[in-house]
């Protein structure tokens, strides 16, 4: 069962990554990227690396998304 | 354990400590902040020399960080070759820093100079780390630190060219480190080690089971270090970055930073990958041809430039290719040539960027065509330029000839005279763009009078030191060549 779940999560990862590449609206891209990071954190949890998963959720998703949003607010939103 | 046993790590750590202290000192006692960095550079240089003497007597020193033995702990390795590179890095950094003391006030705003010292210390520290480390992941971290601080000493000037150039550099270098890390994962997958020594032993075994992993890793490493060191088709970031930066940064980046990555690639090929790898697939052949093309195209691009610093930056692409050529030949003479060129080119290019800096400082000129007649007002500067150009061309009596001599000799030794022709052709191309500048600078009278600002003695002194080193390295080669022979004997 976990195998299937993992496979699904990985598929989501790819979808998110492709979505980030194609979405023209930067804010949406950042949101997609955050979900990418969260899914990544879940996968790492599945792969028995909870410490990494926590850091990814906090830094890789939270802080980076925050920074990106801040940067977009200071520049422009559309690509 | 006495203090001297900790020298390998101290060399790296004192830079980071200095980097943290520097802004503080700059705020509290501005006068001492430069002295702090100078002291640290000198101390590191002293430690490196001490280590070299010790290593020559007692053999390679392996230092385990925090007392953890490899494969889990981080290991630093001090062998003669690394210490040679370290000495070049530290002494050239010290030299450029002395020059920068005066030049920076001209190029930067006053409030960022303290930060510049910080970044400089971080840069030198991370480079020393890259040289000394014996662990792939540690190398990755240090490479990222090096990349960020290198970008930062470009963008600290905060004009639009610098910002744009350093962003380009950052993105491409992120691509480089990405590739590098992927390569590291491949190797880790195959062996479970990150330590160079363990990897080499284990990879020889694993090569039979996971050849594809190892090939992929090797290819990724070529891309990664090729990008960082501006190997020919991956050089696009270099000209903008090196040309727009403040002159001491340009000297540092062109003179030292790119060579560190070439050296790291050398370590990958000769200390990490098993020797059978290079025998099985012609990876060094790829490097060799890219380097051959690089020497030619770097010179051709340089010829087309109108901006002096841009020309020098493009010329670096040609010159770094000589070092890659030394790696590509897979022959000890070629490596001696390549490593000798690391030293020669570090000094020469550093000096040439100093010249460009002095010209900008004194007259504000950047365009090559405006340099006509400048030699009459700035004689020492343009003599330095002439000698630097001669060394780039490889005229006898300069260090450039010696490195070309070794490269050409090894090309003949392995029966590839066509590379001698490439070396000669690129020398000729170099001559074609360096000579007219020198001639015009001295011979023709300028039509419009240029305003000259007197050049500080420190800057002139630095250039004279450069001239002396370039000329002496053309004649008195014994210590360096002996050291290189001795250290390469450990590898071959």
């Amino acid at each position: 069962m976990t195998e299937v779940l993992n496979a699904l999560l990985l598929a989501f990862l790819i979808v998110c990554a492709v979505g980030v590449a194609y979405i023209r609206d930067l804010l949406s891209a950042v949101i997609l990227f955050s979900s990418f990071g969260l899914i990544m954190a879940v996968i790492w949890q599945q792969l028995s690396a909870p410490d990494v998963a926590m850091v990814e959720a906090a830094l890789g998703t939270g802080v980076v998304a925050l920074l990106l949003v801040a940067a977009i607010s200071k520049t422009e939103r559309a690509e | 354990m006495g203090l001297t046993d900790h020298f390998p790590v101290l060399i790296i750590v004192i830079f980071f400590i200095a980097a943290f202290l520097s802004p503080l000192v700059y705020r509290l006692a501005r006068k001492f902040s430069a002295a702090l960095i100078l002291a640290v550079l000198t101390a590191a240089l002293g430690m490196a020399i001490f280590l070299l003497l010790e290593v020559q007597q007692a053999g390679t020193v392996l230092y385990h960080l925090g007392g953890w033995p490899p494969p889990w702990g981080i290991e630093l390795k001090a062998d003669p070759l690394r210490l040679y590179i370290l000495l070049v890095v530290l002494s050239v950094s010290l030299w450029i820093f002395i020059y920068a003391l005066r030049d920076l006030h001209h190029e930067l705003k006053k409030r960022v100079i303290g930060w510049y010292y910080t970044l400089y210390a971080v840069l030198v520290g991370s480079m020393s780390g890259i040289v000394l480390t014996n662990d792939l992941f540690n190398l990755f971290v240090l490479m990222e630190i090096c990349a960020i601080s290198a970008c930062a000493i470009i963008s600290i000037k905060e004009d639009r060219e610098c910002l744009e150039a350093s962003f380009k550099y950052l993105i491409l270098s992120a691509m480089g480190t990405g590739c590098f890390l992927l390569g590291v994962v491949m190797l880790y997958m195959a062996t479970g080690y990150l330590n160079y020594g363990f990897l080499q032993v284990e990879l020889a075994e694993a090569f039979n089971y996971y050849p594809r992993n190892i090939f992929t890793a090797a290819a990724l490493f070529i891309v990664a270090f090729g990008t960082k060191a501006a190997l020919f088709p991956l050089h696009v970031w270099l000209p903008d970055a090196h040309a727009s930066a403040p002159s001491p940064s340009s000297a540092m980046l062109s003179g030292v930073v790119i060579k560190i990555y070439a050296f790291a690639l050398f370590l990958m090929f000769y200390e990490v990958f098993p020797r059978e790898l290079l025998a099985t697939i012609p990876l060094n052949e790829i490097i060799l041809w890219l380097a051959g093309l690089g020497t030619l195209f770097g010179s051709i691009y340089a010829m087309l430039q109108t901006d002096l610093k841009k020309m020098l930056a493009f010329s670096s692409i040609g010159q770094i290719a000589y070092i890659f050529m030394g790696i590509g030949f897979n022959h000890d003479l070629a490596l001696i040539g390549g490593f000798y060129h690391i030293m020669v080119h570090a000094v020469t290019k550093g000096m040439l960027f100093m010249v460009a800096g002095v010209i900008i400082y004194s007259t504000g000129i950047r365009e090559i065509k405006d340099l006509v007649g400048i030699g009459r007002s700035l004689p020492i500067t343009m003599v330095a330029f002439a000698i630097g150009g001669a060394s780039m061309v490889g005229l006898p009596g300069t260090g450039g000839l010696i490195s070309k001599w070794f490269l050409a000799l090894s090309a003949l030794e392995i029966g590839r005279p066509v590379f001698v022709l490439i070396i000669l052709a690129s020398s000729l191309l170099n001559a074609v763009y360096y000579m007219p500048i020198v001639i015009n600078a001295f011979m023709q009278q300028e039509e419009t009078k240029i305003e000259f600002k007197p050049v500080p003695r420190v800057m002139l002194g630095c250039m004279v030191a450069g001239i002396v080193v370039v000329v002496v390295s053309g004649f008195y080669t014994t210590p360096v060549v002996n050291l290189l022979e001795q250290s390469l004997a450990l590898i071959f």
């Binding site: 891209a29 990227f33 909870p50 980076v64 940067a71 | 990222e144 962003f167």
Partner: protein, 122 residues
């Protein structure tokens, strides 16, 4: 068939590689600088995924030692390394974004191609 089996066995690695390529492609081809930075993060994350997958053995537990039972643990070393890696990636991102903001002040655009155009017009 053998290749297919190989792919199915190593699907974590394959996904990581696919993500790496997507990230690299986006980073190098898109002209928007913020997009480049996001793509850079995707690229880094994919490498970390691969690293974690290397440390994971089938059915292994998180490397938290509990007394008494003799179970298979995942390799803790990659995790430790990735923590460093993530921090480095975040700091690079932060630096890149600050550069972007400054560039935007000078050029009034985040699009790299437009910047090149502006520079070539000068």
């Amino acid at each position: 068939m053998e290749i297919l089996a190989g792919i199915i066995d190593n699907y974590y690695y394959m996904v990581a590689i696919i993500l790496f390529v997507i990230g690299m492609y986006t980073m190098l081809t898109h002209s928007n600088m913020i997009k480049k930075v996001i793509a850079m993060n995707i690229m880094d994350a994919s490498v970390f995924l691969m690293f974690v997958a290397v440390g994971y053995a089938h059915g292994s537990q998180a490397p938290i030692i509990t007394e008494g039972n003799d179970v298979l643990y995942a390799n803790p070393l990659p995790g430790a390394l990735i923590l460093t890696g993530i921090v480095v990636a975040v700091s690079v991102t932060a630096y890149a974004l600050s550069l972007i903001v400054k560039i935007y002040r000078h050029y009034e655009t985040c699009d790299y191609d437009e910047i090149c155009e502006i520079r070539s017009l000068e």
